[in-house]
Amino acid sequence: MDRIWNRGERDRAARMARARAAGLGRIVEASRIGELLAAVLVPGDRICIEGNNQKHADFLAASLAKLDPAVIHDLHVVQSNLALPAHLDLFERGIAKRLDFCYSGDQGVRMARLVKEGRIEIGAIHTYLELYSRYFVDLTPRVAFVAAHSADREGNLYTGPNTEDTPAVVEGTAFKSGIVVAQVNELVDRVPRVDVPADWVSFVVKAPKPHYIEPIFTRDPANITEIQVLMAMMVVKGIYAPYEVARLNHGIGFDTAAIELILPTYAESLGLKGRICRYMTVNPCPTLIPAIESGWVEGIHCAGSELGMEAYTAARPDVFFNGPDGSMRSNRVFCQLAGHYADLFIGSTLQVDPEGNSSTATANRIAGFGGAPNFGSDSRGRRHVSKPWLMAGREAARPGGGTMPRGRKLVVQMVETYREKMQPTFVEKLDAWKLMDEFGLDLPPVMVYGDDVTHLVTEEGIAHLHRCATVAEREQAVRGVAGYTPVGLARDRAAVEGLRDRGIVQRPADLGIDPRLATRDLLAARSIKDLVRWSGGLYDPPKRFRNW
């Protein structure tokens, strides 16, 4: 019996032959994109339309959404971000049916509606690392649509600083007999560097307009509040200093931006330079510029890039990971991995329950996860040691008993007790439960689990959750920093004072911090213009962030 071992290759050859028969070469005119899609796609295909945090194959997405659902239908979309309306048009129009993804951002409300209408069947909502992993297990794309900055005539791709997911998507597809279609901003004689080699790329289309990039990591220091400065001081003095956290991952909100901006001022005054915040896995957030320029941060690996930071990152090759061409190369897979094995993750969230579980899920909106769960979890496969990892491991209560010494990752959640418009951050039950019931999920979509969190920081204080011996103790520690929210008001005052005596709950005063001294004067930069000044004019902020 002759068994066929190369069905994938044969199928790819058939699709390529259809394209050739239509007169399409490796370089395809934008006007003929419809013909290309008709040649390479068949109903039921598993596809990825590269949709990252920032970079989007927007021309290809829009072209796919224009396909005739009578001809191409039941596509299975496997991609990290669904950020463009066109991504959901595919489902609304009946071209795609099934979806495995990570994050939907602004499209979350519409996605929820389409799921309810039965137009989207969700396979699973992943974290980034899970979805990338499944490209190499059981969710390999048949056809991948990616975005790059430029291509040469052979099809070598240059991604520029926004490399992001491209290597993972292309490798999974090209090495399993799939087809890779790239949209590029320009065709050049010679690409500055080869981010994807030509023989992994099937077709290149020069898009009518450069691909869309969203500046999502720019936080204007002008919007940082006194409360955020206070919390940043508590994190620096109460966590970074005692643990000497040198390798860490920062979230991308205003809370962590405040930490970055008080490194050259407040942290400097505490004599912490060279002892904390030396290596970071984070996007090139403009608010990092003062800390980089004043010698705090020595190395940064980035998941993506940020608009306006191109010249700055290129001029700081000792700090960033830049190619031989001089420009930065980001890589979300490696950055996620690096962050997972760093000593500390700190980020913000929308809701926290009394067990310390946190979620960004809100009713009627399927937002997904992104990268926080991978960053914000204890890396139990870790074996190399560091001071903060050993120290947290020693401190951690071991409710299950056991004698084997272990290390522990620091996972810090930093929230104000109330968000804007008096929405309490602390709730008795996460909205994630409602979402689970509403959409028939198997588990509530929790961003960071309470037993992974070591520290919870609010304007009311720091709760050292990993030191709590029992669930009941942990609950009182959470309530103890939940302030005047109903969750906080329901605390057992005596129990919380007991935790305070043991240093498991620390108030600002316990840390020697006077909230009245937490002013914006501590910020090394108070405006975008200040960041430009710090960068020596290298940072070129998007126009919407300027006030000069």
Binding site: E226, I227, L230, E416, T417, Y418, R419, E420, K421, M422, E459, G483, Y484, L489, P515, R516
Partner: protein, 103 residues
Amino acid sequence: MEHLVFEFGPYPERPRPAAAVIVGVVGSGNLEALCESAPLGGRLRVEVSSSVHGFGNTWKAVLGDFADRVRLPDLLITINDAGATPAVVGLRLAQAAAELGAA
């Protein structure tokens, strides 16, 4: 607008601040608090006008903790609130207390 009135104390007599003190401004997520001496039989009275409804218990808890801490007699605090969170309320009151010499 929601109008709330709270009284705390009475507290033992102490030197009164000569001039009125104002902290904060009325802007989104912020408030202004005007602190003036008034004959209140040793009590500390707080009058709140807020654009956000339904947080009477929260105000009571925040202001009660503040009053317990500073124990200022015969003080009238009038608040115009545009949705300040308890964190901001606490910070403004701490600033006021410092200016009143009760920090």
